[in-house]
Structure formats: C-alpha cells, structure tokens
C-alpha cells in the first residue's frame, strides 16, 4: 500500500509549509519543533540515514524517527532561518512533508486506557487465583481471608479502571440519554457492593472476580476501538496536504514574503507560481495561464485565464506565474465558505445512534425490570430481604452486558484491520455501521470517477496524416507539463525527437517549435491556426505556418476499476448516480459510457440539495467525492468516501478514505460492512441466547460465583471468536 504523493508540490513548496506546522516547545534550550512525515522510510538503515542527515544540518538539535508511524520529530534552535530539512531529505531520496504535531489529547486518552487496562489485568488475574481456592472448597477462615484480600485489590481497580465507564455513563445520563455504559456501571457497582456486603457478613458468595474481570474484558474492547481510530487518524494526516497554509505576498517595494493565510488582506498582491494553488479568492492582474478548477468546481478541462478574471481559492495554476490581487480575506474565501457549509450539513447527521447504544436502550430496561421482578418475587414468596436482594443482584451480574459490550467493537476492529490492509481507512466504527445500510451511491465525477487527467481521444487508425502528425505533436508536447501536453506525449510510444532549444512555451496558449524553418504550433485553436479556428471544436490544434495539420480531442480518463466497480455496485442492488459540477456535455458523455443517471452543472449547494432530496425519499446514500465542492455533500450524506487525492476539506468530511487509485475499494468496503453488520447481529443473538439460559438460573437463586465466572468468560470468548471469522472468511473472497 502506498500513499499517493505524486500530487504534492515541489520540495520548495513543501518546505514553505514547514514554518506553519512548527511549534515552540518548552524545556531545555527551548527552540522549535516540527513533525515530518517520511513515507518511504522502511527499515532501520533508512531511519539512521534520515536521522543523521537531519542532525548534520546547522541548528538542528534533535531528530528522532519513529519507524512505526514513519514520522520524524525534529527540534532546532530558534533562529531566523528554518534548516533546509525537507530539501535535504529529498536529496537523499526520502521525500517528506510537514504535518500537524500529534494530537496530544488523543495520545493521552490511549495511555489512560492502557493504564486502566493494565490495572484491571493485574487485579483480575490475582483475584481469579484467589477465587479458585474459594470455588473448590476452602475452610471458612481461609475463605474470609481471601474475600478480604480480593476486596482490597478490587476496590482501587473498580475506582480507577471503572472510571472509563462511569464517566461515559454519567455524560450520557446528564444529557438525558442512555448508552451501553449505563447498565455496565450499574452492574459493576452493584456486584462490587453486594460482594462487600457478603464479605462483611462472612457470607459464602463474593463476586469480586466478576466485577473486575467484567471491567477487564470491556476495557480490551474499548482499547482496541481507540487504537483503530488512532491508526486511521495518523494515516489520514500522513497524506500530503494539497492546500498550502501560506501565500507569497508581493510588497509595495517589490519584495516577496510568505505570509500565513490568516494575514492575507484584500488589496494585497499575491504571486502564484505554476503548480501552486490560489490561496484566497482573487483577481488576476498580470500574466496569462491555464488553471485547473477540478477540486473547486468539478470542471475537468483546464480554463485559460488572463488579467481581469476572478479565481476562487483552491484553484491550481498550471501554466505560467500569475500576479493576483486578493479580493477577500481567507476567512471569507470560497474555501472557508465550503467549510462552513460542511459544518452545517454535518450537524444534521449527529442524529445517528450507534448500534450498541440502540441495543442498550432496549436491553437495559428489560434487564433492570427482570432484576426488580426477581426482588419482588422472592419477597412475595416469603424469603427475607437479604436473600431477595442477593438474588436480584445475581440477575444483574449474570446479565451484565459483557458479551454485548464486546459484540460491536470486536467486529469493527477486525473489519477496520481488513479494510486497512486493502488500503481503506475508516475513521470510526459508526461509519462501518452506516455503510452497511446504504441503498444508493452518488459519485462525483472529476477526480472520483475520473482521474482528473485528460486522455487523448484517438481516431481510427490508418489515416496517413495521423500516423505522421502524432509523433511530431508528441515530440513537441514532451517539453511541457500542461495536462493536455502530457496526454499527447503519453499516447505516442515513439515521439519524434525535437530539440529543447527549438521549442518555446507561450503560457496560456500553447507550444511553438521552429523546425526546418517552419513554425509549428501546438495549442489553442485560436492561436495555432487563427484563420481556421471558427469551425473547430478541437481542444488543441497542431499547425504548420498557421495551417492546421491535426486537431486533438480529449476526454477524462476513467479511474482504474471504475466500470467494474459500478457494475459490481449495481449487481449488489444499489442504485448509482453521478452528481457533477462539470459542464453537461462532459458529464453526459461519461454517464453514457458507464450507464448511470447524472446531474450536471451542480453547485455545492445543489449537491447538498440533491442528497437531502434522496434522504426525504427514504434513501440512505453513500457519497463518493473528492473536491472542495463536494465537502458539504460528503458531510451531509449518510456515509461518505473520498480518495486520498481529495482536498483537505474533503478528506476531513469523509468517513472512509481509500488510498489506492482503483475504485474497486468501494464495493470491497461495502462488502466488508455488510459482512460485519451480519456478524454484529450474530453476536447480539449469541448474547441474547446466553442470557435466556443464564437468567432463569439466576432468578431461581442458583447462581454461584463459579457459574458467573464461567458464563461471563465463555460468552465473551465466543463473541470474540465469532468476530474473528471476518478475518478468516475474507481471504478466499479475493
């Protein structure tokens, strides 16, 4: 699995981002600290080379690589210039880019969970050993001694490790909701309380082992769930950013300086080099060039711009350097507007409730009612309060949702691991639950169904002219990086060699070559052959002394696997449609090739509207998109997927991200989601079946600590084994 890095900028551009990700750190000799992502670091030798190269730079005080996360934390002393870290790494063959420093809060949460888990493991293993002696017959004084010792170990464990559940249960109750942690907290507390009471009365049955091992089992599920999300998060932030957080400003005296986006004000002059994105909404004042609006509007063909035209933030400059006049500050730019729309759309989705919480909403009242009925029943048949209470609590102990608490996270962790190996990242388990419910898939066009790169539409072979002209065009085109030039060059295996000094590039128009005294032009029709341009619908014309030789048409190149993926999705009973911001002609052509319904020329707001419409009709929609213009739609859909090449905003909005080029990831993810939904249902059925057997035993008053321990561990193990079937059965599917 490789992360897509080929769409990132030059090393200079990535280095420009570095200061904006670096943070001042405290401690001895306080300086600056930043984190670099180095995806190509694979072994100990790579790690040493990276560390040594960085150490050798003047000013760098420390460089420590982490091979597991493929990141390097670098510290350097505070001075005017940032060490040339990214350039240095590029030179020794390790392309790197700066990333946000790790999320301290999340790391701290994971560590707290691991500590709680370690304490629970310690306590449950010790108490279990003591309990064995009690279960298999110990004289009353030994039993009492072991009970006291168990209570002594259990008390701090319940208080410390149990916090995880108490906090979450309290947070839910305070907002007037219940979740799985409410019955868990009640169960643990009552089990522990009953055992203390029994111990105080020198009773036979204490359930300290049940209370502690319940916490232990559930914490395993909780920790695995947390680690799954941490892994996805670090992989997502490991993908290179597309939008630069800074802009190059030309000051009144002509000096150029890099400013953070937040400080760019309307009226400032900005320089945007070829290959850079426009930082804020702006208007062109100098230069002509072509721009790529694919991420912004979904339009696939490059657009020619010249002085006076307005550009939206996020547009990619393809041709020549442009000088722009900033029209709006970054906070009011197109990008910020999209982020706001996305947040608005996202708030509508907060209504989704996790399967586990829905299950517990049914489960908790039933269990608590059963316990209450047991209490009343035993009192009614004339037993004393102590007998009635212990039996009622025994019902709570045996029904404590141990298996239920593991039923969902175990399956989701195994599924996320499966997806991860296939190059699909999932941000959390709820995305998987929602993906299993979809009945409609909506695709964006540019960058999602297509690669966003044009491909040359070839003519029927055999025409004499064509055979002769294409190698010439390819030879000229080889000297340019424009998408059209690259498409022409790529379509001809044996281009004519054209010397570099013969070719000049006219930014925004095309290429001009002087060969054997004749002027060949390859470019826009109006420029290459002005006299013949009127009737031509070609995108690019090759001309000789202004006489057209050949015209070229292009179409979007489909992403690999797009056709099969769509067939596959349709075969699985999902309806598929396309929602694009591109021109109708381009969209209709592609829709016909793929045989799907389409909506063209959709603005970002139109896209959200269409999704709302589908939602009102009762459909559950998977949105697949990549652009800024899709972000709001991604956030408002039931569940969403984005390719790794998507805009930052798109990646943030999506629930799943696929790292590979091929769209085959989508049916695969759907298949795994459906399979895990099945396994979750099976696990629930197993837990319920177990309760049906165990509850009558407890209600009848026959529960002993030994029975409770056996029932609890065996049901948990069965649920975990059932979840692991996902990893086993998934293999032959390939």
């Amino acid at each position: 699995m490789s992360l897509i890095l080929d769409r990132t900028g030059s090393s200079a551009e990535r280095a420009r981002d570095l200061p904006f990700f670096s943070r001042r750190h405290t401690g001895p000799g306080s300086g600056l600290r930043a984190e670099l992502v180095v995806p190509s670091m694979h072994c100990g030798a790579c790690m040493r080379r990276v560390e040594k190269a960085l150490h050798a730079l003047p000013g760098v005080t420390a460089a420590r690589a982490n091979l597991s996360t493929k990141r390097v934390i670098v510290e350097w002393s505070d001075r005017e210039v940032t060490p040339a870290m990214i350039e240095t790494l590029d030179r020794i063959g390790f392309p790197a880019h700066a990333a946000e420093l790790p999320d301290r809060q999340h790391d701290a949460d994971l560590k707290a969970l691991l500590r709680a888990l370690a304490v629970a493991a310690f306590a449950s293993s010790n108490i279990m050993l003591l309990s064995f002696a009690v279960w298999f017959g110990a004289d009353p004084s030994t039993r009492q001694y072991f009970h006291l010792l168990s209570g002594l170990i259990a008390l701090p464990t319940v208080l410390y490790s149990g916090q995880v559940f108490y906090r979450s249960a309290w947070a839910a109750l305070r907002h007037g909701r219940t979740n799985m942690d409410v019955p868990i907290s009640i169960g643990v507390t009552l089990t522990f309380g009953l055992s203390l009471w029994e111990t105080a009365l020198h009773g036979r049955h204490a359930y300290f082992d049940a209370a502690v091992s319940l916490i232990f089992f559930l914490l395993i599920g909780r920790t695995l769930d947390h680690m799954m999300r941490a892994r996805a998060r670090s992989a997502v932030s490991g993908i290179a950013r597309l939008a630069s957080p800074s802009a190059t400003v030309i000051e009144t005296d002509g000096r150029r300086s890099d400013l953070p986006l937040g400080k760019v004000m309307p009226g400032m002059k900005l320089a945007v080099a070829a290959g850079q994105r426009v930082p804020v909404d702006a208007c062109v004042i100098e230069g002509t060039s072509d721009v790529d609006c694919a991420l912004v509007s979904g339009e696939s063909t490059p657009i020619a711009v010249s002085a006076g035209q307005q550009l939206q933030a996020g547009v990619l400059n393809l041709g020549a350097p442009l000088v722009l006049l900033a029209l709006r500050p970054s906070s009011q730019s197109f990008l910020a507007e999209m982020t706001r729309m996305m947040e608005a759309a996202e708030s509508g989705r907060g209504l989704y409730r996790r399967i586990a919480d829905r299950a517990s909403a049914l489960y908790a009242p039933v269990v608590h009612a059963a316990a209450a009925l047991t209490l009343v029943g035993w009192l009614a048949i004339g037993s004393d309060l102590h007998q009635a209470l212990t039996t009622a609590i025994a019902v709570l102990i045996i029904t404590c949702p141990c298996a239920l608490g593991l039923a969902v996270p175990m399956v989701q962790v195994v599924a996320a691991g499966r997806l991860f190996r296939s190059g699909i990242l999932i941000k959390d388990g709820s995305g998987l639950e929602r993906l299993a419910e979809i009945d409609t898939v909506v695709f964006d066009k540019t960058g999602t169904l297509t690669t966003g790169m044009p491909e040359l539409l070839l003519y029927e072979k055999g025409t004499q002219d064509h055979e002769a002209n294409l190698p010439l065009a390819a030879g000229i085109a080889a000297h340019s990086n424009h998408p059209y030039s690259r498409a022409i060059a790529a379509s001809c295996p044996r281009p004519l060699a054209v010397a570099t000094e013969c070719v000049t590039e006219q930014a925004g128009y095309g290429l001009e070559a002087l060969i054997d005294g004749a002027i060949f032009r390859l470019g826009r029709p109006g420029w290459a052959a002005p006299a013949h341009a009127a009737g031509s619908d070609a995108s690019v014309i090759l001309s000789r002394n202004a006489e057209p030789l050949e015209s070229f048409h292009f179409r979007d190149r489909l992403r690999p696997g797009a056709e099969q993926a769509i067939e596959d999705l349709k075969a699985r009973g999902l309806s598929v449609e396309m929602l694009s911001g591109d021109r109708k002609s381009a969209v209709a052509d592609l829709a016909a090739r793929l045989g799907i319904v389409y909506h063209a020329e959709a603005t970002p707001a139109n896209k959200v509207q269409r999704l709302e419409e589908l939602k009102r009709e009762g459909h559950r929609v998977l949105m697949v998109g990549d652009g800024l213009n899709d972000a709001a739609a991604l956030a408002s859909a039931h569940v969403s997927m984005a390719p790794a090449s998507a805009s930052d905003v798109g990646r943030t909005a999506a629930d799943l991200i696929f790292l590979q080029e091929s769209l085959a990831a989508i049916p695969l993810a759907h298949r795994i989601a459906i399979r895990s939904a099945q396994l979750i249902r099976q696990n629930f059925a197993l837990s319920i079946a177990y309760n049906l057997v165990a509850v009558p035993v407890a209600v009848g008053g026959f529960l002993t600590p030994l029975l409770a321990a056996i029932a609890m561990s065996s049901s948990s193990i069965i649920v975990v084994l059932n979840a692991l079937r996902l990893a086993l059965t998934a293999q032959p599917e390939k």
């Binding site: 100990g44 420390a62 460089a63 091979l67 001694y145 010792l149």
Partner: protein, 55 residues
C-alpha cells in the same frame, strides 16, 4: 493457613511490581515505536545513550 498468610500477599506484591514496571515503561514511551526499537538495536552506534532520548 499460616503459609497463605504471607505467601499470598507476596504473590500480590510481586505481580504489583510487574504492574508498576509496565506502567513505568508505558509512561517512558517504550511502546511508541515498536518497529523502530527493534531496528535501533542493530544500528545504534553511539557509545553513550543519545542526548535526545527525551524526545
């Protein structure tokens, strides 16, 4: 019974020591880069512990 009076607390104390050792190693960051630590053993060429350990 007399044996259990000190043997069982001894067992608890020993496992508590293991717990404390684990909590210390967790706080020390020894689980942050499992792949890297395994490789570092082979490539570390410093005589003394590196000064940047606290990273």
């Amino acid at each position: 019974m007399v044996d259990a009076l000190f043997l069982v607390p001894l067992a608890v104390i020993l496992s508590a020591a293991a717990l404390i050792a684990f909590l210390w190693s967790l706080a020390d960051g020894q689980y942050e880069d499992l792949a890297g630590a395994a490789e570092r053993v082979l490539h570390e060429d410093r005589e003394r512990p590196a000064s940047d350990r606290e990273l």
